[in-house]
């Protein structure tokens, strides 16, 4: 039976919040956690594999206790098990330690996995590092930024765009892929399904003890990178402010800067003199 693992992350919706066109403000009340978009595509890819070949999908997430929500949502989409890695000691992990912790949990809960699928990056940090680092931890073949997969026996055929090339790759399972948002449009989950999933979910909670790991191996303490300082950049220019009706402002813009703009676009923007008027 095909054993699939999907690693997902709960991310805040904040930066892309729907935006209230009347008041011009962000609708903060919608700032709850959601499944990271690329992770959702990874879930969809796993579900399609399951539909075609049968099998079982275990979903892993590491985060605060509330991250359990994303496991319920994944189950509403059709996954089988959820594993929540949550522990104070795990907090503040950089990508390297996140990959380490996830690998420990995967090897404990699902040691005979065939394929691990991750989102190619998360919207809250965009590093795209955890997937590739998980490949190293699990010591399996792997490929990042894949938009198409096809399973033929134990061989996984993949397509991806890498810089200016479209590559077709193959590897023998077990392996790992990170999935982009190009294809695998996530299926829609009706509200009813979501409610059912919250009631009858199969969720395992895992802490540091369960993995036999102590503080020295986890979270901020173990992470090779440290944040030294956080500051607000000052990027203020002494600028010119133009106000008024659009038409008036456009005129003013050309009056003052037609050379500047014309120079950049290599066009003469001077108004033609109309001799025959």
């Amino acid at each position: 039976m095909l054993k699939l693992v999907v690693c997902i992350k709960q991310v805040p919706l904040v930066s892309e919040l729907p935006w209230d066109s009347r008041t011009g403000t962000l609708r903060r009340e919608l700032a709850e956690g959601m499944i990271n978009p690329a992770c959702k595509h990874a879930l969809e890819a796993a579900l399609q594999l399951k539909q075609k070949h049968g099998g079982e999908i275990a979903v892993f997430t590491m985060g605060p206790p509330m991250a359990e929500e994303v496991l319920h949502e994944a189950q509403a989409m059709g996954t089988d098990r959820g594993i929540l890695l949550t522990d104070r000691l795990m907090a503040g992990a950089d990508t390297s330690i996140t990959a380490f912790t996830l690998a420990k949990a995967i090897l404990k809960e699902c040691p005979d996995f065939d394929l691990v699928l991750c989102g190619c990056y998360t919207s809250d940090s965009e590093t795209a590092q955890v997937g590739p680092q998980l490949v190293e931890e699990l010591d399996v073949p792997g490929a990042a930024n894949v938009h198409h997969i096809e399973l033929i026996g134990k061989t996984l055929r993949m397509k991806r765009i890498s810089d200016n090339f479209i590559e077709t790759l193959e590897m023998e399972l077990p392996g790992l892929v990170t999935i982009t948002t190009q294809e695998f449009q996530p299926r829609y989950v009706p509200l009813k399904g979501l409610q059912d999933a919250f009631e009858g979910s199969d969720i395992t909670r895992i802490g540091a003890d369960d993995l036999g790991l102590d503080m020295g191996k986890l979270g901020t303490t173990a992470s090779p990178t440290k944040i030294l300082n956080v500051y607000s950049p000052t990027a203020k220019k002494k600028n010119i402010v133009l106000k008024g009706s659009a038409k008036k402002v456009v005129e003013e813009l050309f009056d003052r800067f037609e050379d500047k703009i014309g120079g950049a676009i290599r066009k003469d923007l001077k108004v033609e003199k109309k001799y025959n008027e």
Binding site: A128, Q129, D163, E170, K226, P233, N239, L253, K267, V271
Partner: protein
Amino acid sequence: MSENNRSIWVFGDYRNYFQNRVTLQLLSRAIELADKISASVCAVVMGHDVDEYVGEYIAHGAQKVYVIEHPQLKNYSIETYSYLMERLARIYKPEIIFVGATMFGREFAPRVAKKLGTGLTADCIGLDINEDGLLVQIAPSFGGNLLAEIITPESRPQMATVRPGTFQEIPHDYNAVGEVIRIPLPEDLPEDRVRLISTERWRKKGQRIEDARVVVCGGRGMGSKKKYKKLFELSQLLGGIIGATRPVVYAKWVDEESLVGQAGKHIRPKVLFSFGISGAIQHTAGIGDAGFIIAINKNINATMMKMADVAIVADANQFCTALTRELKKRIRS
């Protein structure tokens, strides 16, 4: 040779050489930093028929180039290249490794970092050396309009990826000399478990946003996909390229190729039009080198307005229409 064998390495990412200048840009920054810790600057090149690139890297400031050349390395391979990089790093112990954040680099660097058990900061927009001689990796912090300074205090090497366009390459110097160290392909090189079946060029049509002289960027303030599309006409009149913020890309008003910022392209146009963009640090991280910025926002206090040379308080959409009309009149050649 100097006594000191501290070194800063730059991964020689030569694929798409003429468009991909990131290695040269990193060499240039590495030279400035190497001065502060009296280190040498080295490039690492793997592949087949790569002498041309070795020469280029020396001409752009590499004092030393490690070369592993073999027909087997003809195609970029994450598994093999990261295996070899680890081996080299364990032998020569560089202080720092920089990798360009191309698609390949963004997969390669985390794998190398993990193999070496060291830290890695993605998409740095600044790199420096502090008073303790440590590499300071400056990147937008998660959440908030803040920059974070990140260090790797203990593990070595210190590693960072940097998006193309973040630094400026130094001009060619064909008189520059550098040492070339050729390393044979190890005999015990493990077989690649990921097989490349086929590869074809993916042609992106038209001019690249990174090279554009004029960029017309639109943000959520454009209001809707339909209204955002008006920017295309304007951009065309200006001979420019369309750019976008992330919400606009997420909303599928335009495709990801147009994303400007930390997670997207770094641009350096002569003139940048910025329509309805608030100026979040993740976005402005990509426009640091814009020459002349014209921002249009209905909120005069938006960060983008403060960064602009000309801040236009107006409805982005109406202004776009008015500007397009006026330009049409003026470009009637």
